[in-house]
């Protein structure tokens, strides 16, 4: 990491190199983990570095040792440098742990402990102030408190077992809620997207939203950033960093709840209309971020941004399997701002030679089941026509059924190979639409398996036309904005 010391929170400075060390640890000390499950130690099962434990409670120590983790009576007794402390002690013990962490010179702290300012209790507020003061004085990066902490895919630092460990990574997640942070991570993984890192930020006392966003912006292993936020601690800095970030990477913002800032006396007309919602949506639009309202929208958009090539173009070919679906798919994509143009005479001439027009159509949208239902060669011909068709500059949305999938994946593989070839030769998006209940959908359980199969093959998969259209629409709107502000879409490696 480069750059001068960033001002962190409201005072004090934290060295970016030290923050980087804490978020990419080689050694982790878990303080205060408890049985029967020893969750924090268990979460580190796939950690590529070394784990140490600090626990005074004699009843808990055998369970820790059984898990092959050496235990010490204090942080300062650990014989190695500690990059990250995961602190899970009761709140009244935190002052002692903070003191030891400073004395030990640890890289940083992830504080799971809760019961601070969020309770509104005087003791909680006081303890939170103590944490802030200690960190500000010592330049100590601290995640939380009252949070699930950090997930690092490559190093296998996790806050839930379902988070994957492995190479690579595409998405960075910042979440004010631990639950939503987990859900965005798992949901992305399920669609075949690798989450590089996730940070559950809790009370964000020392490091706040803007600091994490800046870190993700500078992380070369993060191509897309997704945030769940309820409010921000440093609005001005957040706005500045967000404007910078969106010029380099897509930033998705899912905002929940209402700001904690109380009502204020307002004496202007403008003030009376400036609701929290109005200002947030203005800010997101102004900064070029992507606004979503639900978890599904966030994950759908992540899939479109990561798994489909970047393009602001909006002229699509829509391929549905029946007449009714060809109308429905067109409605949804047009609603999301896409065009479904007529093709050239030359294309129609070629299509006319083989396309089954009894119970089918190739005008765009395509009603194609009678043409490609039995003959994969015909799909190859259609995609070749589309690849050479100048009217189509935004790619293909393809309805994919799971009929026949229970008997083996051979036919599915052939279709996916052809779709992949189209995508890679044209550099245009291909989205797979696998809706519930369609005549091509088949058995529900098979459909779910088929969706997973297509996801693994590297295509963005959506369970309804509406969700696919909305997600691809958000991605296209982002790439349009990037083009308008003069930053070129980065070539997406695939």
């Amino acid at each position: 990491m480069s750059g001068k010391n960033a001002k962190i929170g409201n005072a004090g400075t934290i060295d970016p190199a030290r923050l980087h060390r804490a978020l990419n640890p080689r050694t982790v000390a878990v303080v205060g983990d408890k049985g029967p499950n020893y969750n924090w130690i268990t979460n580190l099962k796939e950690f590529t570095g070394k784990v140490f434990s600090v626990q005074l409670d004699e009843k808990e120590i055998p369970g820790i040792l059984e898990r092959g983790v050496p235990n010490f009576r204090s942080l300062v007794e650990i014989p190695e440098d500690i990059d990250l402390v995961i602190c899970a002690v009761p709140r009244q013990v935190t002052p002692f742990i903070m003191k030891d962490a400073v004395a030990k010179g640890v890289g940083g702290i992830s504080m799971f402990t809760s019961g601070f300012a969020e309770t509104g209790e005087e003791i909680g507020v006081k303890l939170q102030q103590m944490i802030y003061d200690t960190c500000a004085e010592n330049g100590m990066p601290l995640v939380g408190p009252n949070c699930m902490g950090i997930y690092n895919r490559r190093l296998g630092v996790k806050f839930t077992g379902a988070q994957e460990q492995g190479e690579g990574g595409e998405v960075g997640i910042v979440s004010q809620s631990g639950t939503h942070g987990i859900a965005m991570t798992i949901g992305s993984q399920r669609l075949g997207v690798k989450v590089t890192r996730a940070i559950s930020i809790g009370n964000a006392v020392v490091l706040n939203e803007a600091d994490y966003l800046e870190y993700m912006l500078n992380d070369p292993d993060v191509r897309v950033i997704s945030m769940y936020l309820e409010g921000v601690r440093n609005g001005r800095k957040f706005f500045e960093v967000l404007k910078k970030a969106t010029r380099q990477k897509p930033v998705i913002i899912w905002r929940g709840g209402r700001s904690r800032a109380g009502a204020r006396a307002v004496r202007s007309h403008t003030g009376s209309l400036a609701s929290d919602d109005a200002i947030w949506s203005a800010l997101v639009k102004q900064a070029g971020a992507i606004s979503v309202d639900t978890l599904e929208d966030a994950i759908d958009t992540i899939a479109a941004l990561v798994l489909a090539p970047a393009t602001p173009k909006r002229n699509l070919a829509l391929v549905a399997m029946t007449g009714g679906q060809s109308v429905a798919i067109t409605d949804q994509f047009e609603r999301a701002g896409f065009e479904v143009p007529e093709l050239s005479k030359k294309s129609y001439d070629i299509l006319g030679e083989f396309f089954v027009t009894i119970g089918g159509s190739y005008r765009n949208p395509f009603d194609a089941s009678s043409t490609i239902g039995r003959e994969t060669d015909n799909l190859a011909k259609i995609l070749e026509v589309l690849a050479n068709e100048r009217a189509i500059d935004g790619g293909v949305a393809f309805e994919l059924g799971s009929r026949g999938f229970e008997d083996g994946s051979e036919r599915m593989d052939q279709m996916l190979d052809l779709l992949r070839k189209y995508r890679d030769t044209t550099g245009l998006p291909v989205v797979a639409l696998m809706p519930d209940g369609g005549v091509m959908g088949g058995d529900a359980e098979i459909l779910v398996r088929a969706r997973g199969y297509v996801s693994k093959a590297g295509f963005p998969v959506y369970p309804s036309f509406q969700r696919g259209a909305a997600a691809l629409g958000r991605a296209a709107a982002y790439w349009t904005w990037r083009k308008e502000v003069g930053a070129r879409p980065r070539a997406v490696k695939k």
């Binding site: 409010g231 921000v232 609005g235 001005r236 957040f238 706005f239 700001s259 800032a261 109380g262 204020r264 307002v266 004496r267 202007s268 007309h269 403008t270 003030g271 209309l273 400036a274 929290d276 109005a278 200002i279 949506s281 203005a282 800010l283 639009k285 102004q286 308008e484 502000v485």
Partner: protein, 232 residues
């Protein structure tokens, strides 16, 4: 401009008068109708000469919220003679209608040709600091709340989008034979207010309501500036 703020602070006020507000905004290069305070008729005549006839007279009193209810507004005054008469009559009328009200004087203002009414405002968001608002005036803002916001500082593209984002935008483009508004002038006014807010953290809120949008240019005809509570 520091004087206006300092004197309001000294008087313990956070709400500036219309005359003070306009002086401040005029100094910042924001197009507002000129308005000056006259204590006496003679002074009013001098101001009117400077601004140019026709002029509008408005009573200036911290105790009077609705000027027209007490006969405190007179429009279309086109000569020195008419001005002297109107000045005296307004003083008499207001004193009769609102006995005991402290009257600072009468403001003499440039009379603007009517145009399409829009509102340009700014306020301070607790999380994000100064923000700006744009909308069409009258029922569009009052009832439909058809307004667009942006966070200060605005870039030219923000001002451009803000004006086009409201549902009532076609009205500014000209409907039913009405003239199109000078969108460039509106955008430039918005950007000047954005600069003004950036440079003056001591200003908490601001309404320019209405601003008249013309085929050529734009002009704020009423202005209200509110300072922050704490002196800064």
């Amino acid at each position: 401009m520091a004087d206006v703020i300092a004197s309001a602070r000294a008087a313990g006020r956070t709400l500036l008068t219309e005359v003070e507000s306009k002086e401040l905004l005029h100094g910042a290069g924001i197009p507002v109708t000129r308005a000056k305070l006259a204590k006496k008729a003679k002074q009013a005549e001098e101001i009117a000469e400077e601004i140019g006839y026709p002029v509008v007279l408005k009573i200036v009193s911290p105790d009077i919220a609705h000027k027209s209810d007490v006969g405190g507004v007179a429009v279309g005054i086109d000569s020195a003679k008419a001005l002297r008469k109107a000045f005296k009559e307004m003083m008499d009328r207001v004193q009769a209608a609102a006995p005991g009200a402290h009257i600072e004087g009468i403001s003499v203002q440039q009379m603007a040709t009517p145009g399409t009414e829009v509102i340009v405002g700014a306020t301070t968001d607790p999380q994000f600091g100064p923000v700006m608002m744009f909308g069409l005036g009258g029922v569009f803002v009052e009832v439909l709340k058809d307004v667009a916001f942006r966070v200060v500082p605005l870039e030219p593209r923000d001002a451009r989008q803000m004006v086009r984002e409201i549902r009532g935008f076609p009205i500014l483009e000209g409907v039913r034979g009405g003239p199109a508004a000078d969108l460039g002038a509106l955008e430039s006014l918005i950007l000047r207010v954005s600069d003004f807010m950036s440079q003056h953290p001591e200003i908490a809120e601001l309404d320019l309501n209405p601003v008249f949008a013309y085929p050529n240019g734009a002009l704020a005809v009423d202005a209200r500036v509110v300072l922050t509570e704490a002196a800064s």
